[in-house]
């Protein structure tokens, strides 16, 4: 492939890389974003609980830590951003459950500390009001502290919104592009990728769980990160309406968390256990799943194992195990000019809007000229989500394109029209379709729609069905044609 040249190279198409790309698209100049996976937001961005300002972030705000400031500064930015990008955002509020006087006094301290720092709005809720607000949670709670700031989003859709808006405004993006080597020339970097060399002047390293590896490629080793694995379970939509707030219970054991929250798509998520683990090992162990269920039952005692439709593990990169999630990386390398690394660890989604601004500022300080792009359009229109439209609009859509009347994923009511549209927007894999349209994300987990989605992918991409993958690279779904193996034996 021919040599590519760009002023700024962003490594990583997760929520942070995407947010930086979108922020930079406000200015003139060439920006290229590369993502090693087949689609955007497939690392830590997709494996979390989709909560913005999660787990008492605002309450446990610690001004001495940079990360807290980024989260706090992002609060007023997130909702308008989601509106501009046409992605779901819902303010649900948090209820931090109080089970005894010890917890009560702990929360009283946190609340008054938060107020002194200027963060207001927290309110104590008594047992009766709590019952009214959340009739299905444990009777053990004697009250709760309500945090109005907490909201829920769809981090993958947010990331795709950011990427698409950045592209609209001139940023180039490439998937399945992996960084192999980076060498420094006088005034620029020579970056070798699996899809050819890229010359650039600035690098934004937003490589998620690989952020330290990428930094080491340029011998910029001024931070160390420790991967921490968290476990999340997804509950059937039938239970969706039973919990309305993000519910947080103080964990009874170290290294655990205990959260139950609605998602923007009407499922419930529960999160539990965080423990050091090998990087990239997203496996869920039976033991973790068991603890997860035990923990969430403390909040929601009626929960049955059968209500879990799926579970997954995701990574947070902790800068320092001692201070946990309070530290993050948003910095220009001390050794290598024009090389910025960014890794929030937790919660990357919540901090993304402010972090992107800060990266832009760091780039300016490193010498990037920021000249306003007068043609910047902040508005991006998301492809239609059939299932969420009022009936009149559904009718119009089908009249315009009859494929919207052909439902492919029955659990989530996803139409062929949406799948075709997702492919036009860049989805090339089964998982790409899943995260963009929700086909295969419902209670049957793709049992019904997988063959149909594979067929549509093959048709639209002009490929044989054999070539269709789950998630790019070597993840082909169908290895042989009927009778191939028999002929091979003859």
């Amino acid at each position: 492939m021919a040599q590519m040249e760009t002023e700024v190279l962003i490594i990583g198409g997760g929520v942070l890389g995407a947010a930086v790309a979108r922020e930079l698209s406000r200015y003139k100049g060439d920006v290229l974003l590369v993502e090693k996976e087949a689609d955007f937001g497939w690392g830590s961005t997709k494996t979390n609980m989709c909560i913005v300002c999660q787990g008492g972030d605002t309450l446990e705000f610690r001004p001495e830590y940079h990360r807290s400031k980024l989260v706090w500064d992002s609060i007023p930015l997130m909702e308008p951003l989601c509106q501009e990008l046409d992605v779901p955002f819902k303010k649900v509020g948090e209820l931090a459950l109080i089970r005894n006087n010890e917890e009560l006094s702990k929360f009283q301290k946190l609340k008054s500390r938060a107020e002194k720092l200027g963060l207001t709005g927290h309110q104590f809720i008594d047992q009766d009001s709590l019952r009214q607000m959340e009739p299905n949670i444990t009777r053990e709670a004697i009250g709760a502290l309500h945090d109005p700031h907490i909201a829920i989003v769809d981090p993958v859709r947010l990331t795709i919104g950011l990427i698409e808006n950045a592209s609209q405004n001139g940023v180039k993006v490439m998937t399945e592009t992996e960084i192999l080597r980076i060498s420094r020339e006088a005034n620029q970097f020579e970056v070798e990728t699996n899809r050819g060399p890229v010359k650039c002047r600035f690098i934004v390293n937003a490589a998620g769980t690989s952020v330290d590896k990428i930094a080491r490629l340029v011998n910029s080793d001024d931070f160390v990160l420790y991967p921490i694995r968290g476990y999340v379970g997804i509950l059937d939509k039938n239970l969706g309406g039973l919990i309305k707030h993000e519910i947080h219970m103080r964990p009874d054991a170290p290294g655990q968390m205990n959260i139950l929250t609605p998602s923007v798509h009407g499922n419930l998520f529960f999160g539990t256990t965080m423990q050091p683990a090998l990087r990239g090992d997203c496996s869920v162990t039976g033991r973790i799943a068991e603890i997860g269920l035990q923990n969430v039952r403390k909040i929601f005692p009626d929960l049955s194992e059968k209500d879990i439709i799926h579970s997954f593990a995701g990574f947070l990169m902790f800068r320092n195990w001692e201070v946990g999630w309070h530290e993050c990386v948003v910095q220009a390398s001390q050794k290598v000019p024009r090389f910025i690394s960014i890794c929030i660890g937790y919660p990357g989604v919540s901090a993304a809007p402010a972090a992107a601004r800060e990266v832009t500022e760091l780039l300016r300080r490193e010498g990037l000229r920021l000249e306003t792009n007068e043609r910047f359009i902040p508005i991006r229109k998301a492809p239609p989500v059939f299932n969420e439209l009022p009936e009149e609009q559904q009718k119009k859509l089908i009249a315009k394109d009859s494929r919207y009347g052909h439902v492919v994923c029955r659990c989530e009511t996803v139409s062929e029209g949406e799948i075709v549209e997702a492919i036009r927007h860049g989805a090339t894999t089964l998982d790409g379709i899943k995260f963009r349209t929700r086909a295969g994300m419902g209670r049957c987990q793709g049992g019904f729609c997988t063959p149909r989605v594979v067929k549509i992918l093959a048709r639209e991409l002009g490929l044989s069905e054999e070539k269709i993958t789950k998630k790019g690279r070597e993840s082909r779904l169908l290895l042989y044609k009927s009778k191939d193996l028999l002929e091979a034996q003859l």
């Binding site: 496996s283 869920v284 879990i308 209670r443 049992g447 019904f448 070597e474 169908l478 290895l479």
Partner: protein
């Protein structure tokens, strides 16, 4: 196309939906409509190219498509209206149906009565919580069946099957015939989940190893499945340390149970039985929502397609009578599962008419007696969860019923 004045609307056109619609028509319902989400009538029968269908219903050994074809012809002959590629998205408690398709757009229908015949779906990996990574190459047995028999694709060449449900065992044979190496069928219980005839004809006859009291404890591979770890389990179904071994494979099929598909029933306010996962029905297969009936695997998962069709016929006939405003017997006695009975369908009976009860046991037992209250008892050599019990009762027997609820139980003998 006329979509008003519908007497009976049937949701689904598998073996249940077709049988229900035919029976409704025969019972005198004038305008019967089938709503089917696929491109043709027949539901999952198309992908079931193996034989064993209709042994009882037609007293012939048919394949799934042949069995379906017979019903589909009758649907056509009787002038039953069919809407294909039409997805029902909602049913309200007052029997209003919302559906969507690519020719009419969004449809609103108000039939006099409804038969739920949505069938069932397979349990997925997510629900099983099998530990490990998330590579490509893990399919439910039914999804693989569709790929192989309808689409013409073979998922992989070295396969492990978790669970010994009927579809899993049938796919073990089907894949073997395609030149695939089926390394093992792994079953957590001490007995198979499906029918004995499938164990013999699909596994034993093809020398496919069946590992009872084993489970998959880990999935390996980042991109495509590379191997699974299996282990023996103790009687609490927990893996026994030290018995783990790795089996290299590129495909894992899951055949670990079927779940009646009742999302629409829920929307309509239909009460579900947590034991069956399907609607609570009376002898006429009417649900708690007046005018909504249900039959086939949506009510409870059957072993045999013949039984699915028969049960749906009861629902179809009842729905037709309801549409004609004929009164049905309202006096009811409840049935309840007793010792070693997992569930019983119907959940209530009128005690005035012939009735067939269907029940499933919790555990395998030998030399036992099946009892219905104090009016019926029968000695059985063996009972297995994989094989449904069927009990025909006559009005003269039912007249003697004193208890309400009536208990079904398995008595005598030691549990295995």
């Amino acid at each position: 196309m006329k979509l008003s004045d519908i007497d009976v609307a049937v949701i689904g056109s598998g073996p249940a939906g077709m049988a229900a619609s035919i029976r409704a028509k025969e019972e005198g319902a004038e305008h019967v409509l089938i709503l089917e989400r696929q491109e043709q009538l027949g539901g999952l029968l198309h992908q079931c190219v193996h034989n064993g269908f209709g042994l009882f219903y037609f007293e012939q050994d048919l394949t799934g498509p042949e069995y379906g074809h017979r019903f589909a012809e009758k649907v056509k002959d009787l002038g039953i209206q069919v809407l294909l590629e039409t997805m029902v998205t909602q049913i309200s408690p007052d029997r209003q149906i919302t559906a969507v398709n690519n020719h009419e757009g969004v449809l609103r229908l108000k039939p006099k009565s409804i038969v739920l015949a949505m069938g069932c779906r397979e349990r997925s990996r997510g629900q099983l919580n099998v530990p490990g990574t998330r590579p490509a190459g893990i399919f439910t047995a039914g999804t693989a069946q569709r790929f192989v028999n309808v689409e013409g694709w073979i998922p992989g060449r070295k396969v492990v099957i978790l669970g010994s449900g009927d579809i899993g065992m049938i796919m073990a044979r089907r894949l073997t015939l395609e030149g695939v190496e089926v390394k093992a069928v792994v079953e957590i219980l001490p007995y198979i989940g499906g029918l004995t005839r499938n164990e013999v004809q699909c596994l034993h006859d093809f020398h496919i190893p069946l590992l009872l009291e084993h489970t998959v404890t880990e999935i390996h591979g980042q991109q495509r499945l590379e191997a699974v770890t299996i282990a023996r389990v103790n009687k609490d179904k927990k893996p026994v340390n030290g018995t783990e071994r790795m089996i290299e494979c590129d495909t894992l099929l899951l055949s670990v149970g079927l779940i009646p598909e009742n999302e629409l029933s829920r929307m309509a306010g239909v009460a579900l039985d947590p034991l069956t996962g399907g609607p609570v029905v009376d002898q006429w297969r009417e649900t708690n929502v007046s005018g909504i009936f249900a039959g086939g695997n949506v009510v409870h998962v059957h072993d045999l397609v013949d039984e699915v069709s028969w049960e749906a016929e009861i629902a179809g006939a009842s729905a037709a009578r309801f549409a004609k405003k004929e009164e049905t017997e309202k006096e009811k006695k409840m049935l309840k599962p007793g010792r070693n009975i997992r569930y019983v369908v119907p959940q209530s009976i009128s005690a005035q008419h012939d009735v067939t009860l269907y029940a499933r046991v919790k555990d395998m037992e030998e030399n036992v007696t099946l009892k219905v209250g104090d009016i019926f008892s029968k000695s059985l050599r063996v009972v297995k969860p994989g094989e449904m019990l069927k009990i025909d009762l006559s009005p003269s027997q039912l007249q003697q019923l004193k208890d309400d609820p009536v208990e079904l139980s398995i008595e005598g003998s030691k549990r295995r």
